[in-house]
Symmetry: none
DNA sequence: AATGAATGAGAGTTCATTCAT
DNA sequence: GATGAATGAACTCTCATTCAT
């Protein structure tokens, strides 16, 4: 009765051929103890981020992390409490980088719509620059749920500030504050989900959004899909 | 330097205290061999679905599944090829149930907007009835990516049929077909993401969507957020 | 410190591509119960012999045997006590066939030497006809030691009869009876070992002995290697 | 129809009652890390050799090896790649020890015959000293075929050097080089097979060769069995 | 007598974590 | 602080055997 068919080893790609970066930071040349500590911490963090990006949280082992960081296994536990600890730190930190980058992009615009469009584009540009981030973000609900909730909260509050200002400016009408929050979530979901959409075509970890998608998205949020006069 | 604080075992709930359901189906009283086989298969499937719903794919072991189903470990392999096999079957089957249910709901409506609203509500009703589905769906990209892609495709094509008919009816204007697809993805993303929104308030696996959220969502997709006259 | 190198999976060949014979005997058409029983027994025995020949004792499972014999797993235990039971029966029966065949060959000769040469050749001919026998015999010391000892005893006693008659005829001189036994063992070892010799060149399970090897062997046992006048 | 009789568990001895040696090396008292590593490696290797000698390759499990070596199961994998890895190393290493020992014995002699006799005796002395070697060697064709072929090759080439020198000295006449090789194989087979002969009488793993056997063997190879003038 | 699903002990292996050096 | 070997619990999966039908 077992299904013989297709799904064999349908899981994550083996990723054995992914070229591993050179050891992340040459902490052995550090000037003093503090500096050395900082560099090792950094090396471990970066190694973990890369590996999660390449192979997913599940296949990220301490062995792999320390090997790539160029330190001994035991050293890991001088910098992080546990495997889960470092996994939990990935999204918060990279998420903040993302928000900062996207915020900078967004602020170039003058109207809400312009800003949303620039933020939207900026998100996908960030993914290009940090190819590991998409997977780190996507798998976080499963593997670092607390961190994920915190990230969502951060994004939400940023969006809310942005949208409330627009309400005050009169650029958004007909929505009260809690409705605005719904919109914020829809827009957050759109970014993530259109990433998957891109993945339908291209590489899973390298979503590429064509221009007309951006425009369709903008059209949708500005005039709606259905009742558009 | 390690973070002593909060993050300890921030992942899945310890779960040893999760009340396990009684053995899922009393297959021992089956009338004949075929029936017994069916019941065991069912018991294994249901057990797996419940456990993934409660603890996530990663912590779903064969031991746990067979214990809950009330069969020996070896029995598992009479019904499924491997652990991955059963995990791969979860979403396809439950996903189809979901689509069928949501489709039925949606078809009660007369206009596109009504239908979308009913489908939207139906989705969350389904989550109430099948509290494990949300996590099974959410973690699928990481643990059953093939199944996930297939599911997305199914949802997308259903949505597209729905929206194209609306275009033909003249209920949707100003969007060409590929733009419609973008809208479809945004709407799919909205449902999932508002599930997380609900999770902010209530229980992670039991998203509850208040009425005004639905209405805000409908307002958004019908008139847009920004340019709304 | 582990050895990374060569020896990975150095063991038995996977043998998955070996063409499996059709189900061995169509016992379903048997005329009466006794006949059917006989046919099933035969089918199981033959299947086991083939599989041991192809994959070795270790990889010979009940599942494999019954599948090839075309009966259900449980049926096996109506005919044999256990897996070990059937493995123990392989060599005794096939060994007797071998002895009978080789004996017939040998008896065509007139002198001891002729007879030994014909027996020697006959042994390798038998291996050609029964390609499974070599492996069944070779692995028997590990997997069916009792059967192996019994086989050795059979061969030894045959050899002894043969050689003692030659002593009585005056064809062998200068050896007493227990020394004759040593010679018998050396000759038995030679046959087996030259099989391995052949395997150095050709296929492991298909030893092929060139003519000059036979002649060198005969020269050795007739005049000795060293003191040869 | 099943054979109720004798053959029950005719295979390996039950072995639960085999007195296990004390933990092989008290590595806990090692002076430094390197030394400890060496001792553990040694303990694992020796444990494996002993167990294979007592119960055969098939029944040699990681659990058994590590228990006897007095280390945790996981420790095994710090020293060997896999179960097969250690099994593959047994014969090469012990085989070389054997050859070295036998070679030393042999070189005490002056004539070919003397040397062959001393080598022959030396082989059985080695078996006395290393009672596990016989089974390790005998079962190797089934369980470590690559290692076995390599061993055969080693023995063969040693024998060939020995015999060719004797040809050049004029101690062997009437054989060309490839015929010499046949003789080498016969002699290798004789040693192994007379081990089995001894096993008929004594303990399986402790072959004891009486003096007259050696002499009969020497007579056979020096003057031949049959045509002896 | 034939079936084939259920069983469960036991296998090899992985890996987060500890800790003596 | 850095090291890396030792640990052992936990995992998935196999398969000889049993037994109700």
């Amino acid at each position: 009765m077992p299904r013989k068919s297709s799904s064999k080893a349908t899981k994550a790609p083996p990723a054995s051929s992914i070229p591993e970066k050179a050891q992340v930071a040459n902490w052995r040349n550090a000037e003093n103890r503090n500096e050395r500590g900082r560099l090792i911490h950094e090396a471990l963090f970066t190694a973990a981020a890369e590996i999660v990006g390449e192979r997913g949280y599940e296949d990220t082992s301490i062995t792999l992390i320390t090997q790539r960081a160029g330190v001994a296994q035991g050293t890991f536990y001088n910098y992080f409490e546990s495997r889960q600890d470092i996994l939990d730190q990935l999204l918060p930190r990279l998420g903040k980088e993302m928000l900062s980058y996207v915020g900078q992009c967004s602020r170039q615009g003058n109207t809400v719509l312009e800003r949303e469009e620039l933020g939207f584009r900026g998100f996908y540009t960030f993914l290009k620059i940090h190819p590991h981030f998409f997977r780190i973000l996507n798998e976080a609900p499963s593997f670092a749920p607390r961190a994920y909730q915190a990230h969502i909260e951060l994004v939400r509050s940023g969006y809310m500030r942005f949208l409330k200002r627009a309400m005050e400016n009169g650029e958004i009408k007909g929505f009260d504050e809690r409705e605005i929050e719904v919109a914020a979530f829809v827009m957050m979901g759109a970014r993530l989900y259109l990433g998957h959409y891109a993945a339908r075509v291209g590489d899973d970890n390298d979503p590429d959004i064509p221009d007309w998608v951006t425009q369709a998205y903008c059209k949708l949020i500005s005039h709606g899909l259905i009742g558009g006069a």
